[in-house]
Amino acid sequence: MTESDIKTAVLESLRAIAPEADVETIEADVTFHDQFEIDSMDFVNFVSALGKALQRSIPEEDYYQLGTLNGCIRYLSQ
């Protein structure tokens, strides 16, 4: 999976949870919470949407590695 595939899936999952967010302006190392007001319930939904989109099962203990775009890229390109 390329970095660009992951980025596409992350942005699409964010749009599904928070359609009002301007995700095109994403900063890769700022948390989704700080940029787009993704709260903790949103975040759980986001990880689950992302897992579905990429057909990856993401164990709950790993969720908090996925709080930023770069975090997602690091974790999912392993």
Partner: protein, 603 residues
């Protein structure tokens, strides 16, 4: 029938302590206690000759700053990048004096209403205390509110001053500023070090530096309004519950009895001060006792939370079911890497804590969670599991000394019947007159009166009482949604959805969720000419989130045919909920156990 293993009573947690708990003999204290005794305890060390000695800020900060706790740490703030800021009681006293002087120097008239809209920053605590000193009313708002809930509350509360940050101001206040005519000053916590942007936006740091450190609190009565907290009902706009300076008496006693707080305890309340718990038990109660507050600026994160408990050597922890369940689902491995041996007591509030979570606390932290029950209107904890009593996992607990609880049934004529049999189920009612009882719903005397009958406050919560006198939460008597411990009024959400041109009708319910308790689910009927597409669904979701913010907006939206209504045209949210839960629609007995709408009751 014996209870399932996870529901079996747990031994009193204080039985393992070296010292006796603050409340060691519940039964005797419950019988003998009078609130006047509590006030005497609280006034120890206070200058009772001074005309301001009943002011909350004097009692919880200045009193300590003038005594042996002067140099003790009152507040430790854990910032976003690992930085720490510490405030002793003396420093908190001096800084809140400066804030009171800032308010006075701005010449806002008597008793200004100061709203806050910030994340968890030290200035929030300083502003709350300074406002109380200046004789003002403090009203904290949750930073995750969108512009619409903020506007509604600031208009209703006639906000004079707003404490906020530059980013929140730009995003949420600037668009609504023109509709806030009473707002005279905005105090920016983090304004760039430059001249003020305009005549009414101020750089708080500049003002604090320029203000005098000495302040004499004006005369304060116990019945003077001090705090304003908004809460939601089924119908109408949010209600502004007014609390007075006397409330501190109940904050103080409940902190001692339920949280077992003592001077020198390191105490962490994870609730945001934007909600009532974060003010009552995140600021006032622990300072009244002389404890050290931990304030974490960041969002929930399991590993960091465990690290805070360990590194700050937290002794008493007050948190919420949603957070506990998220920690549980994060797995035991992370928790096992940390040392929680200094943790003496853990407690929970927000919604009923499931027995599994109570027990998980015991396995993970060495002490089970003590569930507590109270509301914005009650101002302080009313029912709790106490350290000296056996914990019943899943139960709300027993009433605090000084609090008389009954289960009642409302009657058609406005009276109530008291249900006094064991295992009876009814609406929780509290005998009026405890110090932190709300004194008004702002501008809404009729709505306030409807909460009372024959000397009882009617809570809108349904419960039952077992043979041992423990209360068990059953459900709400109305359609209010409780998500992640916060009350959400369907009307506020529906009104926003109806503002979208495609929406003909909207109904909002709480959909049960294993982690959050309930999630906000909206049913929407479209106007002719609009197709129920995924892209419209997203548009509506974004529309609602932008206006309401994530804390209030629906998490999901379903398109629906015409919504079920009564003959008078009231939407039957309960029927929608029954459908959503897959309950037979013909049998709504489990949903319609009581008056359907406490805002309009009695019918």
């Amino acid at each position: 029938m014996s209870p399932a293993p996870h529901e079996r009573p747990l031994p009193a947690c204080a039985s393992r302590w070296d010292n006796a708990p603050n409340l060691s003999d519940y039964t005797t204290t419950y019988v003998q206690f009078k609130w006047s005794q509590a006030q005497q305890m609280l006034l120890q060390g206070a200058d009772t000759e001074a005309p301001y000695h009943l002011n909350i800020a004097h009692l919880i900060v200045d009193r300590h700053a003038a005594g042996p706790l002067r140099e003790q740490l009152a507040l430790r703030w854990l910032g976003p990048d690992g930085q720490t800021r510490d405030y002793s009681y003396a420093q908190l006293s001096a800084l809140s004096n400066r804030f009171a002087n800032v308010l006075q120097d701005l010449d806002l008239g008597p008793n200004p209403t100061v709203f806050s809209l910030t994340g968890r920053v030290p200035e929030l605590y300083i502003a709350a205390l300074g406002t109380l000193k200046a004789g003002g009313v403090f009203c904290p708002l949750y930073a995750a509110f969108g512009p619409e809930p903020i506007r509604t509350r600031m208009v209703a509360g006639k906000a004079t001053v707003l404490l906020t940050t530059t980013a929140l101001y730009r995003k949420k206040i600037a668009p609504i500023r023109a509709s806030l005519p009473t707002l005279k000053a905005v105090l920016l916590v983090d304004a760039p070090d430059s001249p003020n942007a305009d005549d009414t936006n101020y750089n708080l740091q500049h003002l604090l530096t320029a203000a005098a450190e000495h302040f004499v609190i004006p005369p304060t009565t116990t019945e003077q309004p001090a705090l304003l907290h908004f809460t939601s009902g089924t119908t109408g706009q949010p209600k502004g519950a007014v609390h007075v300076h006397e409330a501190v008496v109940a904050h103080y006693m409940s902190a001692r009895w339920v949280l077992d707080l003592r001077p020198g305890d390191v105490y962490w309340c994870t609730a945001d001060p934007g909600w009532v718990t974060g003010t009552s038990y995140g600021i006032i109660a622990p300072l009244a006792v002389g404890a050290t507050l931990i304030c974490d600026a960041q969002e929930f994160h399991p590993e960091r939370w465990y690290r805070i408990l360990q590194e700050q050597r937290v002794t008493v922890w007050y948190t919420a079911p949603t957070a506990i369940r998220m920690l549980m689902s994060h797995g035991a491995q992370t928790a096992a890497q940390f040392d929680f041996s200094q943790l003496r007591l853990t407690a929970s509030v927000g919604e009923p804590l499931n027995p599994d979570a109570v027990n998980w606390g015991r396995t993970t932290f060495g002490t089970p969670f003590h569930d507590t029950w109270w509301q914005t209107e009650t101002g302080s904890i009313m029912i709790a599991n106490f350290p000296a009593l056996a914990i019943k996992p899943g139960a709300m607990g027993k009433p605090l000394p000084g609090i008389e609880v009954a289960l009642v049934q409302r009657q058609e004529d406005g009276s109530v019947d008291i249900l006094d049999t064991t295992e009876a189920q009814g609406e929780l009612a509290l005998r009026t007159g405890w110090p932190s009882m709300f004194r008004a719903y702002l501008n809404e005397p009729a709505r306030y009166q409807q909460c009372f009958a024959h000397g009882w406050y009617l809570s809108g919560d349904l419960a039952r009482r077992d043979a041992d006198g423990y209360y068990w939460f059953v459900g709400r008597a109305d359609d209010v949604i409780k998500s992640a411990g916060h009350l959400i009024g369907p009307f506020e959400v529906e009104s926003t959805l109806l503002a979208h041109p495609a929406v003909a009708e909207a109904a909002v319910i709480g959909k049960p969720d294993a982690v959050a308790g309930e999630l906000v689910l909206a049913f929407v009927t479209l106007k002719a000419g609009y197709a129920a597409t995924d892209s419209l669904r997203r548009e509506l979701l974004g529309f609602a989130r932008k206006r309401l913010g994530p804390a209030v907006a629906p998490r999901s939206i379903e398109f629906s045919g015409p919504l079920p209504k009564t003959r008078s045209g009231k939407i039957l949210r309960r029927l929608l909920k029954a459908r959503e839960l897959g309950l037979p629609e013909g049998d709504l007995s489990t949903l319609e156990t009581s008056e359907p709408d406490s805002d309009n009751a009695p019918k």
